[in-house]
Symmetry: C2
Subunit: 408 residues, 2 copies
């Protein structure tokens, strides 16, 4: 175990990127290998298990980008042209009769022999039904060529892609009725602490409500995980051992609030006896104590129990770990450089993730950054990252991570 | 109907903000008024129907922010102090015996009479069990006072708040076992066009796969809507009328691809006959044609059928409309000012929403911005907004809207 850092001494705390690199390495050592084939409508939030390769041309034939008229530009003399056919989307047109044009609608196949579509707004329909074109035209205009978007054999989405509505739509456009995805990660959520009471029950002396359980269960579901709600772990060694033993078929035990050097830490004792336990002191605030270990063969991550600490360490360390176990390469959240709307006069020895909002383009922060409840996070749009040792005055740049990107 | 705009003439196209303002006004005129009470675990993605007000102090009692020792600072002379009790989280301590300190753990109630907690790293345990404090201390240090986060009667979340994991956690910390939320918006998704074939089926001449259906169904579910999949509307007037008539209990009919001035537009005919229809030509690209109307009393939004156009108009216009119908005030997505990583030499008369990525802090765009498929959007992290009439060189600022914020 690393020694505890004192203000000003950052050497003894583990930087966030080192903790992340270690977790990702461990995730890569224990990938989820099982796959399942699911109907396309059911893959939102899942991870693609094999490359999606196009088997067709998109578009499958040249088609019109406009409602208008298809013609062969070489036939156009400036004189009105008769309309020889009408092509709706979904129809299969005749080859274009020389010297004529075809009425055509958006998405309809362009008849063989036509090389140009003029939009209807630039066409004048004469009394005899022929059409006069009033603007200059060019070959290929308003035609989407066959195979413009993709051709057979092209890689469309690599294995490891997280799937959402857009990827579902893209796969549909290629005719896929389903996709092979990585099995859901099974995560057991354990809260530790005798002080915890479930919402809806009466609060006794010294007790507080368990907020991390619903936070994590809900978030894990958004990340495409299967959640095993393992409840509150009693502060008792033999029951702790028993409860952990019941979780041997999960991919991760995620606990909050329990593992420390405290004397009442039965989870820590159980892990030391029947597995392994590493306590990290991270250069992160809120956060700092993070546990990684295993019980028998099941990996265990122990997050700090203060809600804002749970949120930040889950978002920045556990989320990427869980995605990487499913084979996702892109696990970093989006980060934007924005001007600070606040002063930060005193440098800290831990990297701060302040709960903040974007207001008139500036990062503003919630007045009370206590890690005790989630009020700051509910107010916030994102996490404002202030690096170790950094001070700030209004207008200097900080990094802003949208919460929506982390919750997704 | 507005006349069609020509390049350079922006007056004839409706600006995006005007279209949004009109849609939001219509949403406010038809709010979803029904509510339901749900267990807290089930409210992710839903909208809070009544203010959430605190009924308790948080924390409920002063508690320790550290593992350490609680003492009354006035008792401290610099000499070692005996330890008179040990307080774990979840316990209810005795009042502090004068002249002594209490062993205390993170989250445990601070005993009455103690006004300071020193962390264990700054304490030396002597052979007789007494504790010597080696650093200066101050009143209130490492104590989280009762009611620091909230007190009874405080507004925690206003009605109209969208609920996600963080809000669920926050409500849990206040002891709420459930919340009253707005009834889900029921949205019927209709695709129009004879050229559409469902994925998994064989593609005939002139046909393409229906990608908008799964895109929208999946996205609507993320937005907390109840989706009625109304399939592909046949290009036939009487069957169109019949299908629309079957959808009288939904809150919105959302169609793609059908409504235009085209001759085969049976949806448009049905709306004109038994409702109302407004065709907007929007200053948006991809996008432009958007329909708003109703069939009998059910609102209808018709999005353009090209997948990227469907995506952009859904994200920027339909999503806020649907949220506002549930009473959500904050319907604008996050927008970040970032330097462009591309040149944009030719100004357009429509506002462009390019599918882009953030690369080294700059907005880069997908090489093919065709609206024909979703490939650009699957590649992208966000929409890069280029205003009407604007040109850009590398390094100039553009606005970047994260897709994760729109998909959430």
């Amino acid at each position: 175990m690393n020694p505890v850092g004192k203000p000003g001494k950052t050497g003894s705390l583990m930087p966030v990127e080192e903790a992340l690199a270690r977790l990702l390495q461990m995730a890569e050592a224990t990938p989820i290998l099982e796959r399942e084939y699911l109907p396309l409508a059911q893959v939102d939030g899942r991870v693609l298990a094999q490359d999606l390769v196009s088997t067709l041309d998109l578009p499958p034939w040249p088609n019109s980008a406009m409602d208008g008229y298809a013609l062969n530009l070489a036939d156009w003399t400036g004189e009105p042209m008769p309309v020889s056919q009408k092509v709706f989307a979904g129809q299969s047109p005749e080859p274009l009769k020389p010297g004529t044009c075809a009425r055509i609608f958006t998405g309809a196949p362009v008849p063989a022999g036509a090389d140009c579509v003029e939009m209807q707004e630039n066409a004048e329909i004469l009394a005899d039904g022929s059409v006069k074109f009033i603007e200059p035209m060019s070959i290929g205009q308003n035609i989407r060529p066959q195979g413009q978007e993709t051709t057979p054999g092209e890689l469309i989405l690599p294995a490891g892609t997280r799937l959402g509505p857009i990827e579902q739509g893209l796969a549909a456009s290629l005719g896929c009725a389903g996709l092979t995805v990585v099995r859901k990660v099974r995560v057991a959520v354990l809260s530790t602490g005798d002080e915890l009471v479930e919402p809806g029950q009466a609060l006794g002396p010294g007790q507080i409500y368990n907020s991390n359980r619903v936070l994590l269960c809900s978030w894990l579901q958004r990340l495409g995980c299967e959640v095993v709600d393992a409840g509150i772990l009693p502060d008792d060694l033999s029951r702790t051992r028993q409860r952990l033993g019941e979780l041997q078929d999960v991919d991760l035990i995620l606990s909050t609030g329990g593992v420390s050097v405290g004397e009442a830490d039965f989870l820590g004792i159980a892990l030391r006896e029947e597995g392994e336990l590493t306590l990290w002191k991270l250069a992160i605030k809120p956060g700092k104590p993070l546990t990684f270990g295993h019980f028998r063969n099941v990996p265990v991550i122990g997050l700090p129990g203060n809600p804002a600490s749970t949120l930040v360490t889950f978002a920045l360390l556990t989320r990427p770990y869980l995605l990487r176990r499913q084979g996702v390469q892109a696990v970093e959240p989006l980060k934007f450089r924005v001007p600070a709307g606040f002063d930060w006069p005193q440098a800290g020895n831990r990297r701060e993730y302040l709960r903040g909002r974007l207001e008139q383009g500036r990062a503003t922060i919630y007045r009370n950054q206590s890690s005790g409840v989630l009020r700051s996070a509910a107010w916030a749009d994102g996490l404002v990252e202030v690096m170790e040792g950094r001070t700030l005055v209004v207008g200097e740049d900080v990094m802003f991570i949208p919460l929506s990107d982390l919750l997704d």
